[in-house]
C-alpha cells in the first residue's frame, strides 16, 4: 500500500474540506465562542456531521456504520483542525466509538444509533490529575449488588457537561499500576451522585471536573469485560491520540498557511516581509517539519488499519511529532504576524490556543516521546 491517500480517501478529503470550510469555518467557531455557548459547539452542526456520514466512520457495517478506519477519521480531523471547527467528533465518533466497538450488543444499541444520527455526545473520563497518566488510574469501582459503585474524581473531561454518557476508566481490582484490574464503564449523564462541574478552557472548549461519590451503575454498563479494561482503554486511547495527532496536523497546517499568506501581504521597508530571508528560512523549515509530521501520522494510521505489530510505536511517534510540530507552527505563526498576531481579530492566536489544548489531550509530546524510549528498552 503506498503511503498516500487512495482515491476513496482523497474523495472523502475533498468533501470534508468543502464541508468544514462551508459549515464550520473559523467564523463559526468565533460565533459560538462569543455567545458563550454552554456546550462550546453546535448541535445542529453535529447533526450535519452525521448526515455527511462522518460519525459512522469507525462504526462497523453490521452496526449501521461505514466500517472504515483511522486513515478516514484522520482525513476528517485534519480538516476540523484547519478550520478550528468545534465538535464532539474526536471524543464521540473516534475515541468513544473505538471503545464501544468492544461493548456488548445492548450497550451498542443503546448508544451507536444516536452517534450515527448526530444526537448523542460522549465524554471521556480518563485523567485524574493535570497530566495524562493512564497507568496511574486510581478511581475505584467496587462491586455492589448486581453492579458497581464508583468513587473518585476525573478531570479534563471534554464536553463532559454536554455528554449523554461518560466512558469512565476505573479500577475494579488490583492496585495502581497493575495492567489487569481496570474496567471501563458507560455512565449515563443522569446518574445519581455524580457531580459534573464544567470549566471553559483556553481554546473555548468546555471540559468538566467530575466527582463520583458512590455512583451506582449496573453490570450492563461495563464496556468489554470486568478487570480486562486495558485492551478497551488502549483502543480508546489509541484512537483518540492518533485522531488528535491528525487534528494537530490540521491546526499546524492551517496556522502555517495563514502565516505564509500574511508574509506575502504585509509590507515593511517597502517590500513584502516574505521576501526577507530571515523569515523565508523559518517558513521553509516549518514547511519541512509539517510534511514530516503529516507523513508520520498517516504511517501510524495505515499501520493501525492493517493491525501491524509496530502500529503502537508509530502512534506514539505520530502524537509526539505532530504535537511538537504544530506547536512550532503556532509559535512561528504568532511571531511572524508581529503585533497583529497578539490581537483577537486575527485568527493565528486562536490556532495557538487550540494547539495547546490538543497537545495536552491524551498525553503531550514528552509523554509520548518517553513511551518511544520505553518501547525501545531505554
Amino acid at each position: 500500500m503506498p503511503l498516500f491517500l487512495d482515491d476513496d480517501q482523497s474523495m472523502l478529503q475533498d468533501s470534508a474540506h468543502e464541508f468544514m470550510r462551508a459549515e464550520g469555518p473559523v467564523s463559526h467557531f468565533r460565533e459560538f465562542r462569543d455567545k458563550n455557548c454552554k456546550d462550546g459547539f453546535s448541535h445542529g452542526l453535529w447533526k450535519q456531521f452525521a448526515e455527511m456520514g462522518f460519525t459512522g466512520i469507525l462504526v462497523a457495517e453490521e452496526d449501521g456504520g461505514l466500517g472504515l478506519g483511522h486513515v478516514e477519521t484522520g482525513v476528517v480531523l485534519e480538516q476540523i483542525g484547519r478550520n478550528l471547527t468545534p465538535s464532539p467528533f474526536l471524543t464521540t465518533a473516534v475515541a468513544g466509538v473505538a471503545a464501544l466497538n468492544y461493548a456488548g450488543s445492548e450497550l451498542k444499541s443503546q448508544y451507536l444509533p444516536g452517534i450515527l444520527s448526530g444526537d448523542t455526545v460522549l465524554g471521556l473520563a480518563i485523567d485524574e490529575k493535570a497530566k495524562h497518566r493512564p497507568d496511574q488510574i486510581a478511581m475505584a469501582a467496587e462491586r455492589s449488588g448486581n453492579g458497581f459503585k464508583l468513587n473518585g474524581q476525573k478531570q479534563f473531561v471534554i464536553h463532559g457537561a454536554s455528554a449523554d454518557m461518560l466512558i469512565v476508566a476505573a479500577r475494579t481490582s488490583g492496585s495502581v499500576g497493575d495492567a489487569d484490574g481496570l474496567t471501563l464503564f458507560a455512565v449515563p449523564k443522569d446518574a445519581a451522585n455524580m457531580d459534573v462541574d464544567p470549566v471553559r478552557l483556553v481554546d473555548s472548549a468546555v471540559a468538566a471536573h467530575v466527582k463520583f461519590d458512590g455512583v451506582e451503575v449496573n453490570a450492563d454498563s461495563v464496556i468489554g469485560e470486568v478487570d480486562q479494561g486495558s485492551e478497551v482503554l488502549d483502543a480508546l486511547l489509541t484512537a483518540g491520540r492518533i485522531g488528535s495527532a491528525s487534528e494537530m496536523v490540521g491546526v499546524g497546517g492551517g496556522a502555517m498557511d495563514i502565516t505564509v499568506d500574511y508574509l506575502k501581504e504585509r509590507k515593511q521597508f517597502g517590500s513584502p516581509i516574505g521576501s526577507f530571508q530571515a523569515l523565508q528560512h523559518r517558513a521553509a523549515h516549518l514547511y519541512s517539519e509539517m510534511e514530516i509530521a503529516r507523513a508520520s501520522v498517516l504511517k501510524a494510521q495505515q499501520l493501525l488499519d492493517a493491525s501491524a505489530d509496530n502500529a503502537g510505536l508509530y502512534v506514539h511517534v505520530a502524537k509526539a511529532k505532530a504535537a511538537s510540530t504544530a506547536n512550532l507552527a503556532v509559535r512561528e505563526g504568532v511571531q511572524m504576524h508581529g503585533g497583529v498576531g497578539m490581537t483577537d481579530e486575527y485568527d493565528i492566536g486562536l490556532y495557538m490556543k487550540r494547539d495547546r489544548a490538543l497537545s495536552e489531550f491524551l498525553g503531550d509530546a514528552n509523554y509520548h516521546t518517553s513511551k518511544v524510549a520505553e518501547l525501545h528498552g531505554y
Binding site: 503506498p2 503511503l3 498516500f4 505564509v260 508574509l263 506575502k264 517590500s271 513584502p272 516574505g274 521576501s275 526577507f276 530571508q277 523569515l279 523565508q280 528560512h281 517558513a283 521553509a284 523549515h285 514547511y287 519541512s288 517539519e289 510534511e291 514530516i292 509530521a293 507523513a295 508520520s296 498517516l298 504511517k299 510505536l313 508509530y314 506514539h316 511517534v317 505520530a318 509526539a320 511529532k321 511538537s324 514528552n366 509520548h368 516521546t369 518517553s370 518511544v372 524510549a373 525501545h376 528498552g377 531505554y378
Partner: protein
C-alpha cells in the same frame, strides 16, 4: 494469490538462493560497498558474485527498463523488492553515482543510443562515474561556473577546474558542467560526459577534517571531448544539471535514515547503561535520544511517502530539497549524539578498539551533508521560493 504476492514469493526465494551469506551482513562502512568500475578491487568473491547475479537479472537497477539493464519492475514491485532485500539484510549489490544521479538524467534527457550504451554499463557496474559541478569560485552560486568548452567543430577543447569531485581519483568517467557560451549565464552551460583517462585530465585528493580524502580537485588542460558526448541540447545543460541535482539531493537525504536500525537510543544502552528503572542512566541524554528517535522514525515515514509519491507522479517537484534539508540535518544530529554517548571512547582516532576512529571520522564526515549537493540554506531558499512561493527580495 495476487500477482504482487506471487512476485514477493519469487523475489524472496531468488534472494535466498542467490545472495551469498557474506552479503547479508551489515555494511560496516565504505570498505564494504561495491562501487564497480574498471579498477575496482572486489573485497571478496561473494561481493563479485552478488554483483554479477544481480546485474544479470537487472536487479542493480530494478525499476529501469530491461533494454537499459534494469528489471523493468513497477513501483509496487520495486517497493516489494527493496523490502525483501531489507528483510533478509541483503547488501546493495552496487553503489553508484551512475545509478543515483547520472542514470535518471540520461533516462530523461539522453538519446536512445546514449541510454543503451551508458545505462547498460552503469547497470552492470562496468563504469564508475564522478560528478564535475562545483568550482573554486562557484559553490552555492553554481551557475557562475567558468570551466570552458571551446567549439572545435566535431569536438570541444575543455579547460578549467572542478572541486569537491567525489572519488574523482577512482572514477572512470565524469559527467561535467561546462560553459559553452560565455554571454548567457543560465543558457550557456552544457552537460558533457568524458573519460577520465582522456589526456589533460588530472586529479588531486583533498585531505579533509575526517582524515580521509573522498573529494578531489580536478583539472582540465586542453581536454578533447567529442560532440556526441553531450547530454541534452547545446547550452541547455542547466536543465539536465537541475534535474540531476534533484536526484542527488534525494540520494543525500537517505543519510537521514541511518543504518536502518529502529532506535538510536537502544543502541546506546551498552555505552551508557540502564538505571534501576530500566531507563538510560543519563536522563538528559535519554530525552535527547528519545526526541531523536521520534524525529528519525517520523522522517522514515516521510521518506517512504516521498518515494511513493514520486513514483506515482504525485508530490511537489521541489520536494527533494525538503528531503535533503531534513535528512542531512537529522544525520548530523545523529552523529552528535553518537559522539556524546561514546564519551572519551569516541575520541580515539587510530586504536583497534575504535576500528580506526570510525565514530569520530563519520561524525566529521556528516558535517559535509548539509553542504554538498546544495547547502541547507540553499535548500531553504528553494523551498521558500518554489513551494511556498514567497516573493523575491
Amino acid at each position: 494469490m495476487s500477482d504482487l504476492e506471487q512476485f514477493k514469493t519469487e523475489i524472496r526465494s531468488w534472494l535466498e538462493e542467490n545472495c551469498p551469506p557474506e552479503m547479508r551482513k551489515p555494511v560496516r562502512g565504505d570498505e564494504d560497498m561495491c562501487w564497480g568500475g574498471r579498477n575496482f578491487e572486489f573485497q571478496s568473491e561473494a561481493q563479485k558474485v552478488w554483483l554479477e547475479r544481480c546485474a544479470a537479472k537487472g536487479y542493480t537497477v530494478p525499476d529501469w527498463p530491461k533494454e537499459y539493464g534494469g528489471a523493468g519492475l513497477s513501483p509496487a514491485e520495486t517497493k516489494i523488492f527493496r523490502r525483501e532485500m531489507a528483510k533478509l539484510g541483503c547488501r546493495s549489490p552496487l553503489s553508484s553515482f551512475g545509478i543515483w544521479m547520472l542514470g535518471p538524467a540520461l533516462l530523461k534527457f539522453g538519446t536512445e543510443e546514449q541510454k543503451v550504451h551508458y545505462l547498460n554499463q552503469i547497470a552492470h557496474g562496468e563504469i564508475r562515474w564522478c560528478q564535475g559541478y562545483s568550482e573554486p569560485g562557484s559553490g552555492s552560486d553554481l551557475v557562475s561556473l567558468q570551466t570552458f568548452g571551446d567549439d572545435k567543430g566535431d569536438h570541444w577543447i575543455v579547460n578549467g577546474q572542478k572541486v569537491w569531485t567525489s572519488y574523482a581519483d577512482k572514477a572512470d568517467w565524469i559527467f561535467c558542467l561546462v560553459r559553452t557560451d560565455k554571454e548567457d549565464k543560465y543558457r550557456g552551460i552544457s552537460f558533457l560526459l568524458f573519460d577520465m583517462e582522456t589526456p589533460g585530465v588530472s586529479t588531486k585528493p583533498i585531505k579533509l577534517i575526517s582524515g580521509s580524502s573522498p573529494f578531489c580537485e580536478t583539472f582540465f588542460d586542453d581536454v578533447k571531448v567529442p560532440k556526441d558526448q553531450i547530454v541534452g541540447e547545446l547550452n541547455r545543460g542547466w536543465d539536465v544539471a537541475k534535474y540531476l541535482l534533484g536526484h542527488e539531493r534525494e540520494m543525500i537525504s537517505g543519510g537521514g535514515l541511518g543504518d536502518g536500525s529502529p532506535s538510536l537510543g537502544a543502541k546506546m544502552t551498552g555505552a551508557i547503561g540502564l538505571n534501576g528503572l530500566g531507563m538510560l542512566d543519563d536522563q538528559i541524554l535519554r530525552s535527547e535520544l528519545a526526541q531523536f528517535d521520534v524525529d528519525a522514525l517520523a522522517f522514515r515515514a516521510m521518506a517512504e511517502k516521498f518515494m511513493d509519491e514520486m513514483k506515482a507522479g504525485k508530490g511537489h517537484p521541489a520536494q527533494p530539497n525538503m528531503m535533503k534539508y531534513s535528512g542531512t540535518e537529522l544525520n548530523k544530529q545523529r552523529h552528535e549524539l553518537v559522539m556524546s554517548a561514546g564519551g572519551s571512547d569516541a575520541l580515539e582516532w587510530e586504536s583497534e578498539a575504535s576500528r580506526g576512529g570510525k565514530k569520530p571520522r563519520e561524525w566529521l564526515r556528516t558535517k559535509a551533508n548539509s553542504i554538498e549537493g546544495g547547502t541547507s540554506e540553499i535548500m531553504l531558499n528553494v523551498i521558500s521560493k518554489r513551494i511556498l512561493e514567497l516573493p523575491d527580495n
